[in-house]
């Protein structure tokens, strides 16, 4: 499971690092010259750069910096695709989660976090439903899934696929799972626990690691909606 996205931190440290090296070079250069005028000009350059950099760190500047970093990040992310025929969404975007209703802790934790998010950010998440795709179709009957999903939040829907479709989807989403049937009466399913943001046209836009960071989810939605308005 990839847990931490380091690219953001990396890009900003590279930015700060290269800036520091630049300042150091100018300072060293000023040491080489004998001319007082040149020295003063170089000090002036250093001063201007520091002011500019401080400006970048303030609110507005930070936004510029963030959008620079984000555009680099989005270039790094390779887009994955899934088969739209199986999922067959009726909304432009949706969240997808692979789990099962007997899931004792991981699924309720994620669905609980999402429930809180839908409650808090109703307008942002309007028309973006969440689908629980069962990894345990043998035990998860439609009725069971219906009861389970309605318990969490009204925007939570479910999908129960035949083994072929489920196999294809889990392969495309790179979901790993293992049904532990050693115990007949009560068994668990080990599974990857990502939440995916997908588009109707078959794009896996983003994968959120377990436990999901709800701020990150909202930030992604806001950025995505801003971009689509352009």
């Amino acid at each position: 499971m990839d847990c931490v996205d380091y690219s953001h931190t990396l890009t900003s440290s590279l930015f700060i690092g290269s800036f520091a090296i630049l300042l150091l070079l100018i300072y060293l250069l000023s040491g080489l010259t004998q001319s007082l005028f040149l020295k003063r000009s170089l000090y002036f350059v250093i001063y201007t750069l520091i002011v500019l950099y401080a400006g970048l760190l303030t609110n507005k500047g930070n936004l510029v910096l963030n959008s620079m970093i984000k555009s680099i990040d989005s270039l790094n992310q390779d887009k994955r695709l899934y088969s739209t025929k199986i999922l067959d969404l009726d909304t432009p975007y949706a969240f997808i989660y692979f789990g099962y209703t007997f899931c004792p802790d991981v699924c309720p934790t994620t669905l609980g976090l999402l429930a809180g998010l839908y409650k808090k950010k109703t307008s942002e998440l309007k028309d973006i439903p969440t689908y629980l795709i069962t990894l345990d179709p043998n035990r998860d009957s439609d009725e069971r899934l219906k009861n389970y999903t309605s318990f969490f939040f009204k925007e939570l829907r479910y999908k129960r696929y035949n083994s072929n479709d489920l196999k294809q989807l889990t392969t495309e989403f790179d979901v790993r799972y293992k049904v532990n049937t050693e115990k007949a009466n009560y068994y668990t399913v080990d599974h990857s626990a990502f939440v995916y943001l997908v588009s109707k046209n078959g794009e896996i836009i983003k994968r959120f690691s377990h436990p999901i960071n709800t701020d990150e989810v909202i930030l992604t939605i806001n950025t995505m909606q801003k971009e689509s308005q352009k």
């Binding site: 991981v106 309720p108 939040f153 009560y186």
Partner: protein
């Protein structure tokens, strides 16, 4: 005067005995709750267990009236999958607090005898390896 002195002495000794009793209570549990889930599915109990003694103490067993099986669980990430595992004991190091929380360590109430309802009081007996038992009175919460 004698009477007053006697009362004072009694009061003091009572306070002293109460203090001794508290210091023996090495395990304290705070912020406990049981997650409400629909139907008779298994669910988790969460809490903060503090060991205020100078010796490590382990939680070795948990039992409850509401479930057929009660286990101490943790999550591990195996090949990118979240796997829930029963652990034989949960060590609470001397002077430390261990937090049992969703998606992490928890007490698993497996195969509930009856569906739970929000606000329901639940008793969980926690046994520790220092031969003490903690009777935890907690309640079911719908934390969504």
């Amino acid at each position: 005067m004698k009477k007053i002195l006697f009362t004072l002495a009694l009061g003091l000794s009572l306070t002293a005995s109460a203090k001794t009793k508290t210091s023996q209570e090495t395990i304290t549990i705070k912020n406990s709750w049981v997650r409400l889930l629909p139907g008779k599915m298994s669910t988790g109990a969460f809490m903060e267990i503090t060991n205020s003694s100078n010796k490590d103490i382990s939680l070795i067993k948990a039992t409850s009236d509401v479930s057929q099986i009660t286990e101490i669980h943790d999550h591990v990430n195996v090949d990118g999958m979240m796997k829930m595992v029963a652990i034989p004991k949960l060590s609470i190091p001397a002077g430390q607090t261990i937090t049992l929380k969703p998606g992490s360590l928890h007490i698993m109430l497996i195969e509930l005898k009856k569906p739970l309802v929000a606000g329901q009081k639940i008793n969980i007996k926690l046994e520790f390896d220092n031969k003490t038992t903690f009777d935890l009175n907690t309640s079911v919460e719908d934390k969504k």
